[in-house]
């Protein structure tokens, strides 16, 4: 019988939640790396027992952990993230030039085809790749050097490369997103990159339609349609049907179009999920009601999903990497909150239950569907 393994990164360690295909009874292991921030933890699609975790601390810096047995045991691997050449400068919050400095790894994206290959999105924004299972890292510097880098500026959370999407139909194509620079695409495996932000409108920057400078919070894709992208921007939910060349707003009837997460149903490429957040100044759900919104038509028309979620006095946030879906026949949807709850739905969002209620603030959620 199939089962699922939910990988949860929190402010104070990693947790691994497992259940059979019914997704009713859960076992929880952890905290792994207790006391450290785990920005992201993700398994290889090629070898699901190989899992990578980004472990970091303001005191002790960055550690990358690797497991080869599904998270039972771990080994610290390479943590040297050296920018290629002289790093140069990007814009600081006040508009002055600021030198590029490595701070942490926000996102780890294992290769779709090679168990030893994994990508890392880091702050200050850059993309790294390891071809030896995390022992050594090399910057894919074409991104940072393609020309707009000196104009990138950090968002409130830092200038992080937080989203990496590998195109399953085209090994040369990678999408990434940076706060607050925008989305970018390579079609040649990382040698050359271009901003893909046409159609985005950000009224909080001097030129609302600028080529770069947009605060993209997250991007999602269904593997069956790699040219269709869905984006939760700082404000606005967007979609692109041409691999990011042009975006159109699909916020529609959402009660607020600010938010962080966005994801796509495993079997229905036009079914998408967001968690509306009241505003960038408040970072909690509207009216104290935690609601996932689902569109079954690729945006614009949204329905609230509330069954099993708190509908009063709820003031948590759901951060950008904290939603994921499994691939069981009845698609499971999962998300974690800054209040330490991890909610699961085994019926595509119709009903929800907390798997666990009192973890440290959740930074990321990933799911592995296992035989």
């Amino acid at each position: 019988m199939s089962h699922v393994r939910v990988l949860v990164g929190t402010r104070k360690g990693a947790f691994i939640l497992t259940a059979d295909g019914k997704r009713e009874d859960w076992e929880i292991s952890g905290p792994h790396f207790a006391g450290w921030e785990i920005y992201h933890i993700k398994g290889s699609p090629v070898d699901p027992n190989r899992i990578f975790a980004s472990q970091s601390s303001g005191w002790f810096g960055q550690v990358i952990q690797r497991s080869n047995d599904g998270g039972k045991t771990w080994e610290a691997v390479g943590n040297k993230f050296a920018y290629d050449g002289v790093p140069g400068t990007h814009q600081w919050y006040d508009g002055t030039a600021h030198p590029w400095e490595f701070k942490r790894v926000w996102h780890l994206e294992p290769s779709l085809t090679e168990a030893d290959m994994v990508y890392a999105g880091v702050e200050d924004a850059a993309l790294f790749r390891s071809t030896d299972a995390g022992q050594t890292w090399e910057e894919i510097s074409g991104l940072r050097k393609h020309g707009t880098g000196p104009h990138w500026q950090p968002g409130a959370g830092g200038m992080c490369l937080h989203t990496i999407i590998l195109d399953p139909s085209n090994t040369g194509r990678i999408y990434i997103a940076i706060s607050a620079a925008g989305a970018f695409r390579t079609d040649d495996g990382g040698a050359t990159w271009k901003p893909i932000n046409k159609g985005l409108y950000s009224k909080y920057i001097p030129d609302p339609t600028a080529e770069v400078g947009h605060c993209v919070h997250h991007v999602a894709m269904h593997r069956s349609r790699p040219n269709v992208l869905f984006m939760q921007k700082h404000w606005d939910v967007m979609r692109s049907d041409d691999a990011g060349d042009y975006w159109q707003e699909v916020s529609g009837n959402l009660p607020t179009d600010f938010g962080f997460v966005i994801d796509v149903h495993a079997h229905e490429p036009e079914t998408i999920y967001v968690v509306p957040i009241k505003s960038d100044g408040e970072h909690f759900p509207l009216d104290g009601k935690l609601r996932v919104y689902r569109s079954r038509v690729g945006g614009n028309e949204w329905e609230p999903l509330t069954n099993g979620l708190p509908q009063s006095d709820c003031y948590v946030n759901v951060l950008r990497d904290a939603m994921a879906v499994d691939t069981l026949d009845s698609c499971g949807v999962y998300f974690g909150t800054t209040g330490g709850q991890v909610y699961a739905s085994a019926d595509a969002g119709d009903t929800w239950k907390p798997i666990v209620r009192d973890l440290p603030a959740v930074l990321s959620v990933e799911v592995q569907t296992l035989p």
Partner: protein
């Protein structure tokens, strides 16, 4: 042997049993030579106490010994005789920060 006391998180990371690490340091005993020896014995600590490349002390790391704060001493200055002789440990600790 040189004695080094590590913060709890780094003892866990380096899988150190017990409270102190014992190190052989070749030549003059300085912060730099001691950290070189520490990182050679425990490669997982590379980057955790001082930055890769620049080898600068990470901002929230402090070095104490013999009731003195040695954090701002040049890396190539000699450590106290009591540390070099093993009578006292070099204490590496995380600064109190963030509440």
């Amino acid at each position: 042997m040189i004695r080094v006391e590590l913060p709890a998180h780094l003892r866990t990371l380096a899988r150190v049993k017990g409270g102190e690490v014992m190190l052989e340091v070749a030549g003059p005993v300085t912060i730099q030579s001691l950290l070189d020896a520490l990182e050679a014995a425990y490669p997982v600590l590379q980057g955790a106490i001082r930055d890769h490349g620049t080898l600068r002390r990470r901002p929230f790391i402090r070095f104490f010994a013999c009731s003195e704060d040695l954090s701002h001493e040049p890396p190539d200055s000699l450590l106290p005789v009591a540390v070099a002789s093993g009578a006292e440990p070099l204490i590496i600790l995380g600064a109190i920060a963030g509440g």
